[in-house]
């Protein structure tokens, strides 16, 4: 037993990488599925807040991320966009990150085409703006001052979906999908804090803990944290719309769960090997 623990203590790190790779690849390759129970919490709160929006209301969805965090945030973007569009909510897409505008366009066109909706009538992608929170402050008095044209150069005033939408106060809700700064912080600080607009969020798992304080204080109406948050949202959407196509987060959750079990196993084994090694050294010293 002592010899085995000694070997484990000196295990080649590449063996750990290999096991991690297998714990992700095997469940994905064999399309392993695991139940995703969604209990009351931030994901359900956001879903219910979106579900309570009356058809025809206008929502800003800010796609504040780039391809490096796509695996976590794009499934959220697709599920949220589908939920909003299927409820007849008008979407104004913005981006505080440059590449967010293109990723938004992918999600918006994909869902819009599948539901038979049309750009400029049901949604618009205003594109990227520099400045982060400063731009959000300016949107409080005039959105067209920040986005005089949409992503491809169509003037703000000529876009039907923007008719009657002049400033943040005309928006029913802001949903920020954020990979960092600028992102949820900017929208909560300005849109919610200064103008009282309800703000919901989706973020990478790394940054989720820092936004939980906003949930407790009611500054965020709901939050999707990482791939689990995206899978929660896909599950809720599928529950209410059985015909809706599945997303990419749910199939990834089996791999996520199994890889977490492997990591937990390594943590336990590593600690046992460490404690045993320390005892051995102490015994040797005596």
């Amino acid at each position: 037993m002592g010899g085995l623990l000694e070997k484990l203590d000196r295990i080649d790190r590449r063996f750990i990488y290999l096991l991690m790779a297998l714990s992700v690849l095997v469940p994905l390759a064999f399309r392993l599925e695991m139940p995703i129970p969604v209990s009351p919490g931030p994901s359900m709160d956001l879903y219910e807040a979106v579900d309570a929006l009356p058809p025809g209301s206008v929502v800003i969805v800010s796609y504040d991320y780039d391809p490096s965090t796509m695996p976590e945030l794009q499934p959220m973007a697709v599920a949220l966009t589908r939920h909003l569009m299927s409820r007849g909510v008008k979407i104004i897409a913005t981006a505080l990150w440059p590449q967010g505008a293109s990723l938004a366009q992918n999600a918006l066109t994909q869902i819009s085409d599948s539901l038979g909706l049309s750009e400029y009538e049901d949604w618009v992608n205003l594109g990227y703006t520099v400045g982060g929170a400063v731009s959000v402050v300016r949107m409080g008095s005039s959105i067209s001052a920040v986005f005089p044209r949409d992503r491809v150069g169509v003037p703000y005033d000529s876009i039907p979906v923007l008719e009657g939408v002049g400033r943040l106060a005309d928006i029913s809700m802001v949903i920020a999908l954020s990979a960092g700064d600028p992102g949820i912080h900017a929208w909560v600080m300005v849109a919610q804090g200064r103008f009282g607009i309800p703000v919901g969020g989706g973020c990478t798992a790394v940054s989720a803990p820092e936004f939980y304080t906003y949930l407790g204080s009611g500054q965020l109406v709901g939050l999707l944290g990482g791939l689990k948050g995206a899978a929660d949202y896909e599950t809720l959407l599928k529950r209410d719309n059985p015909g809706a196509p599945g997303g990419t987060a749910t199939p990834g959750m089996a791999a996520q769960s199994i890889s977490h079990l492997v990591i937990m196993g390594f943590i336990v084994i590593g600690n046992i090997a460490f404690i045993a090694g320390r005892k051995r050294k102490r015994g040797g010293a005596k």
């Binding site: 590449r14 990488y17 991690m20 790779a21 992700v24 690849l25 994905l28 390759a29 490096s68 965090t69 796509m70 695996p71 976590e72 440059p98 594109g127 990227y128 520099v130 929170a133 400063v134 402050v137 005089p148 044209r149 003037p155 909560v188 600080m189 300005v190 919610q192 804090g193 200064r194 990478t204 798992a205 790394v206 989720a208 803990p209 304080t213 407790g216 204080s217 009611g218 500054q219 944290g225 990482g226 791939l227 689990k228 990419t248 199939p251 990834g252 791999a255 996520q256 890889s259 977490h260 990591i263």
Partner: protein, 218 residues
């Protein structure tokens, strides 16, 4: 030529080159790392010129849109030039004016908002009723308030952490450790999610482009 297939293959080969570092450092990894750094720098330069500088400065200054030239834009243009002058040692100090403008504006705009959002609203969030609701809500509120107070006591260094203060600080650091543990758990989840994203790309987009593996993706 099918550009999509070419893009998928390029993405897959670069992904595998990067992951090859897990075995050991090698020329494929080095090449991909340098390619990424160079491409990113080039991309950002071009993106900023065409999506930031041109619409926000040049078009407004020259009146490229329907409106006439906005001469106020000369001020930010001059500050922008000052920033670039950091590259010229003799006049590098001029960039301080631009930096002062950025810092001053940023601080002025965010001071009150940050205080309101991240301090006052958070304090308000800990002021909870202990009379309304059932036992579970009372315990929930009590735990939150006790956790905040004990956490703050841990960071109070003007009194020795002994006796009641020491006990409260001990509870505070325990709560902080639980928070760090939760944060670490989320970080692990995030990293695995990124690996899952790339694995899905390799399995379901790249492998099916190899005739031998077509059946795998279904």
């Amino acid at each position: 030529m099918n550009w999509e297939i070419l893009g998928i293959w390029l993405g897959a080969l670069l992904t595998l080159s990067l992951y090859s570092f897990l075995y050991r450092d090698n020329p494929f990894y080095k090449f991909t790392e340098h390619l990424f750094v160079g491409m990113s720098a080039g991309y950002w330069v071009i993106y900023n010129i065409f999506n930031v500088l041109r619409p926000n400065l040049w078009d407004r200054l020259t009146g490229a849109g329907e409106a006439g030239p906005d001469l106020w834009m000369i001020i930010p243009a001059v500050f922008g030039v000052f920033m670039i002058l950091r590259l010229v040692p003799k006049v590098a100090s001029l960039s301080r004016f631009a930096l002062a403008m950025i810092v001053g504006t940023g601080a002025g705009l965010s001071l009150v908002t940050t205080l309101q959002t991240n301090a006052l609203a958070q304090v308000e969030g800990t002021i909870l009723s202990v009379t309304g609701g059932g036992l579970s809500e009372f315990l929930d509120s009590f735990l939150l308030v006790a956790g905040v107070v004990c956490g703050l006591v841990y960071f109070f260094f003007s009194k020795a952490h002994r006796g009641v203060i020491g006990g409260a600080a001990g509870i505070g650091i325990t709560i902080l450790m639980i928070a760090f543990g939760a944060s670490f758990g989320y970080t692990v989840m995030a990293r695995i999610s990124l690996l899952i994203g790339q694995a899905q790309f390799l399995l379901f987009r790249w492998l099916p482009t190899i005739p031998l593996f077509r059946g795998l993706a279904g």
